[in-house]
């Protein structure tokens, strides 16, 4: 189906919920004094969007808004995932002491707006739409990063983010214009058809164009060498925003990248195997990106003392792992990516939630804030953190291992031994710094001056749910892998 703008609204319920909530919060902000209600409203909106996305699952596949966006299994998977990410960000914001006394009305407005943008990043099938969605998410993220006005680090981070973002999106839009010139269309499916015919166009210019577009994607998923902004931004931004950037906005970046590279620059063959268009071997380029990204992320994380910054580098390394599924050009690889992104949600958000509890309690986010956590009233947060850390390191029986297992399986099925071995060694390196946090919590004794960890049920419950999820999907992950499997449907007209 190919619907006009007005008809499309019937299939845009998740986005509509978010948009109405965005506007509603902005107006309510002027009317009420109990500002917490605004956050709760945002939470309901995210929950509603998740529910509405799940309900779309049975709908007919097709184009919406005159071929600007697609409604297909892939988009619905990410809509569900992204609304849950926004839900987590709002929930964490409600429990964050950093954000007390800031302007909640504007904050939640921006957060929900960013979430709406990520929805369109995941479903755009037109270069123009993709660019607009990406810019929309970026612009809101800049403001969110520097949202705490008193924080100098936050302002610095926001400015850095803005400058890097401006350069990256400039490069991207230039690359897109080149592609438009070569293919004569902005629509992914049409670009794919036109470039499929071997011609002079498929030469160096196309390669340069793809490289430039990659700058934009690489910046969003923090792939080396476009990652430079992320450690500073992750460290400077308010913690819930960091968590959202590392999960929601990154996943949207991956969704957009997959759709562009697989729909416009590859074609599906038999048996779940894809092929690139002739003369453009982009997987080789990204194999290199994947290897460098994971290695650099892990090596840099080894020396971090600030846990937030450590998690930023770890998040770079994980982008490298996820890219392993991207380069194998098979359904198995894509499925592994979706699965990994879902498990990454559990463990990474979990780690950030525990970090926030520690931050709330002691106003510190460095390694010493975790010293002897298990022995000074924080036994449960420490246990949850240990689960998240080992899961991030890819140790069974946690979900992170299963995610890595699928990625390795996809890579080894293609016999890309080099990539597999580098990734395997990287897992070992990463264990060192993840275990360092566990060691600090359990093996070090607290000093007299370390504050007693107070119970925080709001965040504690969330961390608990995520920890249980990490364990359950580490032992019985069939529902999740089946969902990922079903979601590998790209509508292309």
């Amino acid at each position: 189906m190919n619907l006009s703008s007005v008809e499309s609204l019937a299939y845009s319920l998740p986005e509509l919920i978010l948009v109405f909530a965005t506007v509603g919060i902005l107006m309510l902000d002027l009317l009420i004094t109990r500002k917490r209600i605004l956050g709760e409203l945002a939470l309901c909106a995210c929950g509603g969007a998740a529910l509405a996305s799940a309900l779309l699952a049975g709908a007919e596949q097709g184009y919406l808004f005159n071929q600007m966006v697609a409604l297909d299994g892939f988009a619905i998977f990410f809509k569900l995932f992204l609304s849950l990410s926004a839900f987590a960000a709002v929930y964490m914001s409600l429990g964050s002491r950093e954000l007390d006394n800031e302007h909640p009305g504007e904050y939640y407005t921006l957060l929900l707006a960013a979430a709406t943008g990520t929805f369109y990043m995941a479903s755009a099938t037109n270069l123009l739409m993709a660019y607009l969605a990406l810019e929309f998410v970026s612009l809101t993220s800049y403001v969110l990063t520097g949202f705490i006005r008193a924080s100098r680090r936050g302002s610095e981070a926001a400015l850095k983010y803005l400058i890097y973002g401006g350069v990256a999106s400039g490069a991207m839009v230039y690359g897109m214009s080149l592609i438009f010139g070569l293919a004569g269309s902005l629509d992914y499916a049409t670009i794919g058809e036109r470039l499929l015919v071997p011609s002079e166009a498929n030469g160096p210019i196309l390669f340069i164009a793809v490289l430039l577009v990659l700058a934009g994607f690489g910046y969003k998923i923090s792939m080396v060498p476009f990652h430079m902004w992320s450690p500073d931004v992750y460290q400077g931004a308010p913690l819930p925003v960091t968590a959202y950037l590392s999960v929601g906005s990154k996943a949207a970046g991956f969704a957009m990248m997959i759709r562009f590279f697989y729909v416009a620059l590859s074609h599906a063959g038999a048996g779940g195997v894809w092929a690139t268009i002739e003369g453009l071997e982009w997987p080789n380029l990204i194999v290199l990106g994947s290897i460098i990204t994971m290695t650099l992320g892990n090596l840099a994380a080894l020396r971090q003392d600030n846990v937030k910054r450590l998690l930023a580098y770890s998040s770079i390394a994980h982008a490298g792992y996820i890219l392993m599924g991207f380069v194998v050009l098979s359904d198995a690889g894509l499925r592994a990516m979706l699965f990994y992104i879902a498990t990454y949600y559990l463990m990474n958000l979990g780690a950030f939630t525990v970090l926030m509890m520690v931050l709330n309690n002691s106003d510190r986010e460095d390694m010493e804030a975790f010293r002897g956590l298990a022995w000074r009233g924080g036994a449960l947060p420490a246990a949850a953190m240990a689960v998240f850390m080992f899961s991030l390191a890819g140790v069974p029986p946690f979900a992170g291992f299963i995610g890595k297992f699928y990625l390795f399986a996809a890579v080894i099925d293609k016999e890309m031994w080099m990539l597999a071995i580098v990734a395997a060694l990287n897992s070992v390196v990463s264990l060192y710094y993840y275990a360092r946090i566990v060691r600090t919590m359990y093996l070090d004794q607290p000093l007299k001056s370390d504050p007693v960890m107070t119970t925080d049920w709001h965040s504690g419950a969330f961390a608990g749910v995520l920890a249980v999820g990490t364990i359950v999907f580490g032992v019985y992950w069939r529902p999740l892998i089946d969902l990922a499997d079903k979601s590998l449907v790209f509508f292309r007209g």
């Binding site: 291992f401 297992f405 399986a409 099925d413 597999a420 897992s427 070992v428 359990y442 093996l443 069939r478």
Partner: protein, 500 residues
């Protein structure tokens, strides 16, 4: 008793959950609950021993459940002669170690819960016949081990714990790659070890080599074979007594068990090619090197740790020979080393609990202060030296008998190392138990009832197996002969094509 292996594996896990739910204050209750949780596996192990069919090399007590069908991952449990001995050893050592840990008084609940989790992991490794399941259990052991060494260990525990963890994980990830390579090599893809073994003829020599190396490094780290052994002395010295016992008694066996369970039947051609350098030469080197290092130690625990490296060398040498005697001797040695080293570590623990140090030169004349203790200690020491009439003698002789048919030079070197073993053992005996009495320690109490309960069963087994080794040999023989035959009769694919 239809799901006996599942029960044996998961009852300790259930025990761990129960232990976590007990009140914090009541340490005695926690200890005895943990002990009770290891009793059903022990009783089931005895039942297994009685009901194990000794006439076949087939897998017994099989269980098979689909786990993740879309990826053909199954839950397959089953044991043959090779694994049943290891299951018995695990079931035997776990209650003993729990008894030996009753002295722990920091974080008691956590300690026993982690210990029971470790028990589940170990039993699971020996029972699982699906490679994926095997890998999960293999890794599940790492986490409790990390905490048990790291939280309850000696002064340098943090370093030792992370070193152990990193080394083992390095081995594991290489194993993971080899495992996936095997998985995709078969059509339909499978992790089922039995099918992987059946199809072993269809793997090319090159493929076998690479897969073999990947698996071998993982297992060699666990054995630990030179040069991957450096984590062991650290881990042993820092770990609490009971954990050292488990480490030396069960965990080290997993390396050689893995090679026999996976490398031998699935990659027989590579085994033929690699056995000499990777197992025989390295094993002999382990024997000599471990013994020489042991001789230089002044810390009793470190001495016993290095003696483990030396004794595991016999296992490697025995299995490399690919003779019936050698391979039987190797597995018997795995079992015997498990009991003997367990005794040695327990004995060192007994002194350490009293004197709070383990310096060999810091004692003297303990024999007159602690006579009962010295009596049991002598059995363990002489068993470790390979004295006839005690268990380790039989297995070492079998290994050397096999090795003689295989390579005479290595046999001579390995056999001479027995002198080194006697050297460091007797020298320690002389410095600690004989000689002038050190006045500082005249007041040391003799072994308590609880300590005797941990030592006497092991001593009894050491003596019984010294006189009647068939108690174990009968169990293992059919499976090992079949395994040996599989490796010896493997011929390259190209040769198969030329057969008439």
């Amino acid at each position: 008793m239809e799901h006996i292996l599942t029960y044996m594996t998961f009852i300790p896990l259930l025990g761990a959950v129960v232990v976590l739910c007990l009140p914090r204050e009541n340490n005695t209750l926690v200890r005895w609950t943990a002990f009770a949780a290891t009793m059903p596996p022990l009783l089931m192990a005895i039942w297994l021993y009685m009901n194990f069919d000794r006439s076949t090399d087939a897998m017994q007590f099989m269980e098979r459940v689909q786990w993740i069908p879309s990826y053909n991952i199954q839950y397959i449990m089953g044991i043959d002669g090779l694994s049943v001995t290891m299951v018995l050893l695990t079931a035997l050592l776990c209650p003993i170690c729990i008894l030996a840990s009753f002295g722990i008084d920091k974080g008691v609940k956590g300690y026993f819960a982690l210990f029971l989790l470790l028990d589940t992991g170990m039993t699971g490794v020996f029972c699982s016949l699906d490679f994926f399941l095997f890998y999960i259990f293999w890794e599940v052991m790492l986490l409790p081990m990390y905490f048990l060494i790291g939280v309850w260990g000696g002064p340098r525990r943090e370093y030792a714990a992370i070193k152990f963890f990193l080394y083992t994980l390095l081995g594991s990830v290489l194993m993971l790659i080899a495992m996936l390579a095997l998985y995709f090599h078969n059509d339909p893809h499978t992790f089922d070890m039995l099918i992987l073994m059946e199809k072993s003829g269809s793997y090319s020599r090159d493929f076998q080599w690479w897969a073999w190396l990947g698996l071998f490094i993982g297992f060699a780290i666990k054995i630990p074979a030179f040069p991957f052994h450096t984590w062991l002395p650290d881990a042993h010295v820092e770990a609490p007594t009971a954990i050292s016992v488990i480490l030396a008694g069960v965990l080290l066996k997993m390396g050689t068990y893995g090679i026999l369970r996976l490398c031998y039947p699935i990659l027989p051609l590579a085994t033929q090619d690699m056995a000499f350098y990777a197992l025989a030469v390295l094993g002999t080197w382990n024997i000599v090197y471990g013994a020489l290092c042991a001789m230089a130690q002044t810390d009793m625990k470190k001495l016993v740790a290095y003696s483990s490296i030396s004794h595991m060398g016999y296992v490697m040498l025995g299995m490399a020979t690919l003779t019936p005697q050698g391979i039987n001797g190797a597995v018997l040695q795995m079992f015997n080393h498990g009991t003997v080293t367990a005794m040695l570590f327990l004995l060192v623990g007994v002194i350490y609990d009293r004197a709070h140090h383990r310096e060999i030169n810091g004692f003297g004349g303990l024999a007159s202060i602690m006579p009962r203790y010295t009596g049991i200690m002598t059995i363990a020491f002489f068993a470790a030296m390979g004295l006839p009439g005690l268990s380790a003698f039989i297995s070492e002789v079998l290994v050397l008998l096999g090795a003689w048919q295989y390579d005479k030079i290595l046999t001579v070197i390995a056999a001479s190392a027995v002198v080194l073993t006697a050297g460091y053992m007797l020298w320690m005996l002389q410095r600690v138990w004989l000689g002038p009495v050190n006045e500082k320690y005249t007041g040391l109490p003799d072994v308590t009832l609880r300590e005797l309960a941990t030592l006497v069963p092991l001593a009894a087994i050491v003596i019984i197996l010294g006189v009647y080794p068939h108690a174990v040999l009968d169990l293992i023989n059919p499976s090992l002969l079949a395994l040996n035959q599989t490796v010896l009769s493997a011929i390259p694919m190209e040769a198969v094509a030329q057969l008439p």
